[in-house]
């Protein structure tokens, strides 16, 4: 009886979360794909059903002919969507590079800190991550506004004569992304840098290598797994970001997460917003696979 229970328990440990994710993670994607192929309708839900299993298999196959890629053609036709995709990838890419440039020195400084204060530093990086994303983005509105704190400060210092326009520009989105995602960059970088064997760098120095070139030849290449993981953790969610472009970017800037949101909530066009989501997912598949692989490698190294 005990053995049976144990076997059952070990089964359940796999089966329960597996089923949960199949139903609430994988199945929804299939539904998104299905609805992206249907025609919009003025009804609730606002689309024409593509499949209706009630009619049996014959009806199912008859309906297959009705599938339309018109939503996708619509996306390809309208430069608005293509521009939104391109500018999302561009903005996310630039922000990721800036985040790396800002995050690396922080992670490096943490890894070289005395072991006794490292837990404290780690906690200081993690703490903002626990604080609401929305709140942290909101905090920047008050800083970046034309009459905001940054401009007041710069005017006070006499650096500028007229307030800078930062809010509602792409610059504000970059600042928002770098700020919000910085902990995601620092943590994996710190994890690889901390494990690194310092004697390698000492050996290089002993052999006459200047510290800067020792960094580029040894430290940086060895930290690449952390760089890849950090960049993916920033880049992938940033491409589909909604809150940051909406609150800091204003109406001028174009990002696909915002387009999807307004397509869904303002235009109530579910099929088109599903098509937008499918294309976004396809664009992100390669970086997501890269991320998965780097995670799997890290786990093997951990084992």
């Amino acid at each position: 009886m005990g053995r049976f229970l144990a076997a059952l328990a070990s089964r359940l440990v796999i089966v329960v979360p597996y089923l949960w994710l199949l139903v609430f993670f994988l199945a929804p994607f299939l539904i998104v794909f299905k609805i992206s192929l249907s025609e919009p309708a003025i009804a609730m839900p606002p689309y024409q059903p593509v499949f209706d299993l009630a009619g049996g298999l014959a009806a199912f196959f008859a309906k297959l002919g009705n599938l339309s890629f018109s939503n996708y053609l619509w996306l390809a036709d309208d430069p608005l969507y293509i521009n939104a995709y391109l500018s999302s990838i561009w903005i996310a890419g630039v922000s990721t590079v800036i985040t790396l440039a800002v995050g690396y020195p922080i992670a490096y400084g943490m890894a070289r800190a005395p072991a006794s204060i490292r837990p404290l530093l780690l906690m200081l990086v993690i703490l903002p991550f626990w604080t609401s994303f929305l709140i942290r983005v909101y905090a920047w509105i008050g800083i970046l506004k034309p009459e905001g704190l940054l401009n007041q400060f710069l005017l006070f210092l006499g650096v500028i004569d007229t307030p800078l326009v930062i809010l509602n520009t792409t610059t504000a989105i970059h600042i928002g992304i770098v700020y919000s995602y910085l902990p995601f960059m620092v943590l994996p970088l710190y994890a690889t840098l901390e494990k690194m064997d310092n004697s390698l760098i000492e050996a290089a120095r002993d052999l006459g290598c200047p510290s800067l070139s020792a960094f580029w030849k040894i430290t940086f290449p060895l930290s690449l797994p952390g760089v890849v993981a950090g960049c993916m953790l920033v880049f992938i969610p940033a491409v589909g970001e909604f809150v940051i472009p909406d609150l800091l970017g204003g109406s001028q800037t174009l990002m696909i997460g915002k387009t999807l949101w307004s397509e869904f909530f303002n235009n109530r066009d579910w099929p088109v917003s599903s098509a937008v989501a499918v294309i976004l997912l396809l664009l992100l598949i390669v970086p997501i696979m890269l991320f998965q692989r780097s995670q799997a490698r890290a786990r093997e190294a951990g084992n």
């Binding site: 070990s10 440990v13 929804p28 400084g109 909101y138 989501a277």
Partner: protein, 274 residues
């Protein structure tokens, strides 16, 4: 990689932390501003906190959010811990690749996609949107974060401890609850807290999956933020930051104590065995 802590290292840390904390500190300071104009300091006042508590809509939203966060974090912790065990203990089972993919993908999945897909699922199965759908959605994405946190603890767990318990006649379930669970408990608690705050923070997924009567606090804050920066919102944010900061600090103290206790136990056990 401890080395010499150069001046460059210290300066980059100071600047980095200033960048991370200054916006939050400014937000907290200006929540105590007398003036309605958020960026002009007009003296200390707590009046925005007082008006807050008479704001019925805000209080209702806070209550909804607290219930969703508590419920979803609890279920997500159970499911996420199971997923972590499945991934570390059972290296071969049919569909393991798909399973690990489904555990890690939500960590980076843009929220608009997760939100839209869950909403379409609920509509497809004719599930009325409201409290329950938001909770289900939050369980789904936060269980993956729990799984990652717990898994990182499980891989360093010495499995021979559990085997020893089995040799001494413990049932597998007993061995799990008496040996493994106490060791990974700090990670499980950290996972719960992470799931709780993720749910507390979420705007996008909640906006898609929520229905009438289940407006969460982030949704409420968002709708007010769109109208402009106000000291009331600063006050709400300050309270939320305070709650989270207290929680994190308490949790880290608990974890630290347990860690010390565990190391002491392990040393004692090693002495007996050795």
């Amino acid at each position: 990689m401890a080395g010499n802590w150069s001046r460059f290292n210290i300066v980059s840390l100071v600047l980095g932390f200033a960048f991370l904390y200054l916006p939050i500190v400014l937000l907290v300071i200006y929540s105590f501003n007398e003036s309605r104009l958020v960026t002009v300091w007009a003296g200390f006042s707590t009046k925005w906190y007082v008006t807050l508590f008479s704001n019925r809509g805000l209080m209702d939203a806070a209550w909804v959010t607290a219930r969703v966060a508590f419920l979803s974090a609890t279920v997500a912790t159970v499911l996420g811990t199971m997923a972590a065990i499945a991934l570390t203990r059972y290296t071969r089972f049919r569909g393991r690749m798909l399973f690990s993919g489904m555990v890690f993908a939500p960590l980076v999945m843009p929220e608009v996609i997760t939100g839209l897909s869950l909403l379409l699922l609920f509509v497809a199965i004719n599930f009325d949107r409201g409290f329950l759908t938001v909770t289900l959605a939050h369980i789904t994405f936060s269980m993956c974060f729990v799984a990652v946190v717990v898994q990182s603890r499980l891989v360093t767990f010495d499995q021979s401890l559990e085997e020893a318990a089995l040799d001494l006649g413990a049932t597998p379930l007993g061995a799990f609850f008496q040996v493994t669970l106490p060791v990974i408990l700090p990670a499980v608690i950290a996972g719960w807290m992470l799931a709780f705050t993720l749910s507390l923070d979420d705007l996008v997924i909640a906006s898609f999956t929520s229905g009438p009567g289940a407006t969460t606090l982030p949704m409420k804050i968002y709708s007010q933020v769109r109208l402009g920066v106000t000291p009331e919102i600063n006050a709400v944010c300050t309270i939320l930051i305070g709650i989270v900061a207290c929680g994190v600090i308490i949790a880290s103290i608990i974890t630290k104590r347990q860690e010390i206790q565990r190391q002491r136990d392990e040393r004692a056990a090693a002495r007996i065995i050795g």
